[in-house]
Amino acid sequence: MHRLASPQHFFLDTKMWVVWLYVVGIIGLLVGSIWGLAFVPPERFQGDSFRIIFVHVPVAIFAQIVYISLAIAGGVHLVWKLRMADVYMAAATPVGFWLTALALGSGMMWGIPTWGTPWEWDARIVSTFFLLILFLGLIVLRQVIPNPARATTALSILAIVGAINIPIIKYSVVWFNTLHQPASIELFGDISIHTIYRIPLFTNIASVFILTAGIILANMRYLTIERNASKTWVQPWIQGRDQ
């Protein structure tokens, strides 16, 4: 594992990984969603609108997982000052942002048929919304701080503080929601997952995981090139000899 710490080895070795991750991820996603969207019988309450679950649930799960991974990378950066941790954070933040945006989007798309309004102050949507703001904060902070060394440390602190806050925000939102204005139908709450839905859902979850890992890895490779542009081993790629 130590070999990967050096930027050059990282760039060369992971070339194959990215390709494989992309391939498996996309195939998995196609299989899972086609199966979920087309072949699964409509759900008793909501009929077809329920199918969005195959997109929404995996995406929402991984949005949070990416943020938690950012916080861990932040911790690693603060403690051991690993260069890779910083590159990972820079690569993973936009991916996390788009995942949360997708989760919110699919949540709304699901909201229209079931509740009649796309935006329903339901606890789960609200906490995903705040997650989106947290990601936005990370991205904005990175652009504002000119000095890269300070930027990474500030980001890792913010990521850690944010990660500590996620469960608290979730709990307080769910509590606040159920207290005042009762929780309308939970996103996927009131439908216990029958076995026939389970398989496509898990394939989708696995494939989204692989795809996200692939995208993040590709981002990291791109960033390693960009950061070490002045180094000698990077020159052949800069002239675009082989990608």
């Binding site: 000095n147 060394a149 440390t153 002045s230």
Partner: protein, 192 residues
């Protein structure tokens, strides 16, 4: 204090690589070099304000006296309040007698109760030098100490540095004016 193979690359341009330096008690070390060659960055790194990209700094004596471009005095408070604030910060007592003696030495007695905003740059610099003295640090890191000081001020500061080194302290000065210290060892920071 020892600095071992320091490497710092803030922007794209590499400031220094593999720099080794050790500051010994009772010695003046002068950092020479044109503007923008990283003198103050090196000083900030030695003081611990800035993190080098890699390399290690072992500091034997913890509290360091650092005098940067900005005057280390808060502009709203008066001179006397600043002195009192610095003494509370460093933890050593400052009785009014000693404060008065410092002010007389730096001809700031008249401005003692005026707020720092009204003072001239030279007077502000003297005030920050007094704050440095109050802390009685062993190691001084001075960034252009003579800037905006008149000749009497410069003379005063130089004499302070000399007797500071005589009784065992050490000083690192980053300045581009020509050296005035006999036994100072020079560190040239040219742009390679």
């Amino acid at each position: 204090m020892t600095v071992t193979d320091l490497h710092c690359q803030p922007g794209s341009q590499e400031l220094f690589n593999g720099l080794c330096l050790s500051i010994v008690a009772g010695e003046v070390c002068e950092l020479r070099g044109p503007n923008g060659c990283g003198k103050s960055t090196l000083l900030r790194i030695m003081a611990g304000l800035q993190q080098p990209d890699n390399g290690k700094i072992t500091r034997f004596i913890e509290p360091l006296g650092y005098l940067g471009h900005k005057f280390g005095v808060s502009s709203i408070l008066t001179v006397r309040e600043n002195l009192q604030w610095t003494s509370t910060l460093c933890g050593n007592r400052l009785d009014s007698h000693r404060a008065r003696e410092f002010l007389e030495k730096f001809q700031l007695l008249s401005a003692a109760n005026k707020s720092i905003q009204e003072l001239s740059a030279g007077q502000k610099r003297r005030c920050s030098v007094i704050c440095l003295l109050i802390g009685n640090y062993k190691l001084w890191l001075l960034d252009e100490p003579f800037s905006s000081l008149d000749s009497s001020g410069e003379e005063l500061v130089r004499e302070l540095i000399q007797d500071h080194c005589r009784n065992g302290g050490s000083t690192v000065i980053a300045s581009h004016s020509e050296s005035r210290f006999a036994n100072a060892n020079q560190v040239e920071l040219g742009i390679s």
